[in-house]
């Protein structure tokens, strides 16, 4: 850039001129900007996620259908998470049974442990725990993978090869999450009930007939439907959040790290917030 002779003279444009004193009004404007920055950024973030979800649904119905990539994503999100989901399900069922028997015994109603555990597991514990496990394991992995692909221009490379990156990378993952999380939550229910039954019957000596009878009496398909509906929504939400954080990553390795953290934290918070509102809506609908 050319320098001008006037550049060395002191004057109103000189760089070293002290900034004019800031008035009270300027500070009010600053404060106002800062106060609005948080909700504005929040709305922007939500908008980005909704747009990515919309685009991934739109590309779901356009050819070519990427069955191979979908199966790979289902394997990564679902099959490879089975062991950890099963372990967590088993121990959650066991510890809940232990606590419930201890609490219910006070009133001499330990026979209801099966029913109580059944309701808690099918309605709440299975969708929430399964989604959180998948978000921590597969969600973090997806955010890191897509983030690395973004910063090394692999996502741009897909576009240059006339392959839509949302259709290739995001749509199969979101669909896989939507299918696999509810399936995994069924597995969670089986494992948790098995663990709970084992502890209640074999360790706490609850009558197995009473355990099963109360379970059959108080837990029905409505509870399972509630849990599966929630798991489906959580599966979609966590994969959209994880993919969005990876897909929009910037700023090198640090950016990928930030994206991954946001993916996990964002998924956890979203799952728990959605859980409350979904439960409210489903209970209203089911009790109509």
């Amino acid at each position: 850039m050319a320098t001008t002779p006037g550049g060395l003279m002191s004057g109103p444009d000189a760089a070293d001129e002290p900034a004019p004193p800031r008035g009270a009004w300027d500070r009010v404007v600053d404060l106002n900007d800062r106060l609005w920055a948080f909700p504005t950024r929040g709305i922007e973030e939500v908008g980005k996620h909704v747009m990515l979800f919309g685009a991934s649904v739109r590309w779901l119905f356009k050819r070519p259908f990427r069955i191979g990539v979908l199966v790979e994503a289902m394997d990564y999100i679902g099959v490879q998470s089975i062991l950890i989901v099963g372990m967590i399900g088993l121990f959650v069922g066991m510890v809940f049974a232990l606590q419930l028997v201890s609490a219910l015994r006070t009133f001499g109603t330990e026979g209801f442990v099966g029913a109580t555990l059944g309701i808690a597991v099918t309605r709440e514990l299975s969708p929430v725990f399964t989604s959180i496990v998948v978000a921590a394991r597969a969600g973090a992995g997806m955010a890191t993978e897509l983030g690395s692909m973004r910063i090394t221009e692999q996502i741009d490379a897909l576009s240059t090869m006339a392959v839509n990156p949302i259709q290739y990378l995001v749509t199969p993952r979101v669909l896989a999450g939507t299918i696999m999380v509810p399936l995994m939550s069924i597995f969670f229910v089986i494992m948790a009930m098995t663990g709970g039954y084992g502890v209640a019957v074999f360790i706490e000596h609850v009558d197995p007939g009473v355990f099963m009878e109360n379970l059959r009496w108080l837990v029905d398909t409505k509870d399972l439907i509630q849990g599966l509906t929630k798991a489906t929504v959580f599966g979609t939400a966590l994969t959209v959040i994880s993919c969005a954080q990876g897909f929009n990553a910037s700023g090198g390795a640090k950016g990928v790290g930030i994206g991954t953290t946001r993916a996990v934290v964002g998924s956890f918070v979203t799952i728990l917030v959605l859980d409350y509102f979904l439960t409210d809506i489903i209970l209203v609908l089911q009790n109509k």
Partner: protein, 291 residues
């Protein structure tokens, strides 16, 4: 072709209507391209014509918007204003599906090759063939091997990109860009990060491919030694506009101070009445423009 160096800045404003969009001579024509990111104006009205079958190199310092300009050519970015005609078709208003049709005319070699690191070399090069052709596995395997061999790459099909050197990765990237036999090849800083020998190999490769296939090559670079070695036409991007376009000889003779400064600083040309390029290998060892 004019023998004089052409100063484009501001001269073509208002000439959009006069542009012959479908030209036999020019494969890509750009008029009035502007792009801002927030308050930062990167492109401020780029006008550029790329001749069919020639190697056209766009030079410019870091942060001048070379990569941004290249991304516009393939529709990876949408401009704020302006037109880009590829074979007479304006690509700016096209949607994703239509852009994919145009993108099949292009192949692109990224600065760091942008190979898919979860796929092997063979899967990387086969990727465009699997996506866009109905060829059998054996045909694809044969085409990939042939393409890799033609670029001097043997017995690396099963390796992953992380196992390759920088130069090899670039050649694999080039094989992938070439495998669908595109009409236009874009190179984003092809010699960045390479040693002098690898740099010369990449230069030779670009020149040979251009000669053998007749492909139109657009290269963005700040490596003046490479530029003078292979370019048919050179344009300089300066302050968001194409400040100058000409043959290598014309660029060397340019009197524009920022062109002289850029070329002089690269150490490739002595300006005391001597336009001769310095020795290639020595040049590439010190490239002040490199990050």
């Amino acid at each position: 072709m004019s023998g004089e160096t052409e100063r484009a800045e501001g001269a073509k404003e208002g000439k959009e209507a006069a542009v012959d969009r479908k030209s036999d001579q020019y494969q890509i024509r750009i008029r009035g391209l502007t792009k801002s990111f927030g308050d930062h104006k990167v492109l401020r009205g780029v006008d550029l014509d790329v001749e069919r079958g020639k190697i056209h190199i766009i030079i410019g310092g870091s942060g001048q918007g070379k990569s941004v300009l290249m991304k516009h050519l393939m529709g990876l970015l949408k401009p704020d204003a302006g037109h880009i005609w590829v074979d007479g078709e304006d690509v700016v208003p096209l949607d994703d599906v239509e852009l994919n049709r145009v993108r099949r005319k292009f192949g692109m070699l990224f600065q760091y090759a942008a190979l898919f690191d979860s796929l092997t070399v063979e899967q990387n090069v086969a990727f465009p063939l699997i996506e866009h052709t109905k060829k059998s596995k054996s045909e694809i395997h044969e085409m990939v091997t042939k393409r890799l061999n033609s670029l001097g790459l043997r017995n690396i099909e099963k390796k992953f990109p992380a196992e390759l050197s920088g130069g090899m990765r670039k050649r694999v990237g080039l094989a992938r860009a070439l495998v669908l036999e595109p009409q236009i090849l874009l190179y984003d800083e092809p010699t960045t990060g390479l040693d002098p020998v690898a740099t010369k190999n990449v230069d030779d490769m670009i020149r040979d491919i251009s000669k053998e296939t007749g492909v139109t090559s657009v290269v963005i670079s700040h490596d003046m030694a490479s530029t003078f070695r292979i370019a048919h036409r050179i344009s300089m991007l300066y302050e968001g506009k194409i400040a100058v376009t000409g043959s290598p000889e014309e660029i060397k003779r340019s009197n524009l101070p920022f062109v002289r400064e850029f070329v002089e600083m690269s150490g490739t040309v002595q300006f005391e009445g001597n336009d001769k390029c310095a020795d290639d290998d020595e040049d590439t060892q010190t490239r002040p423009g490199d990050r």
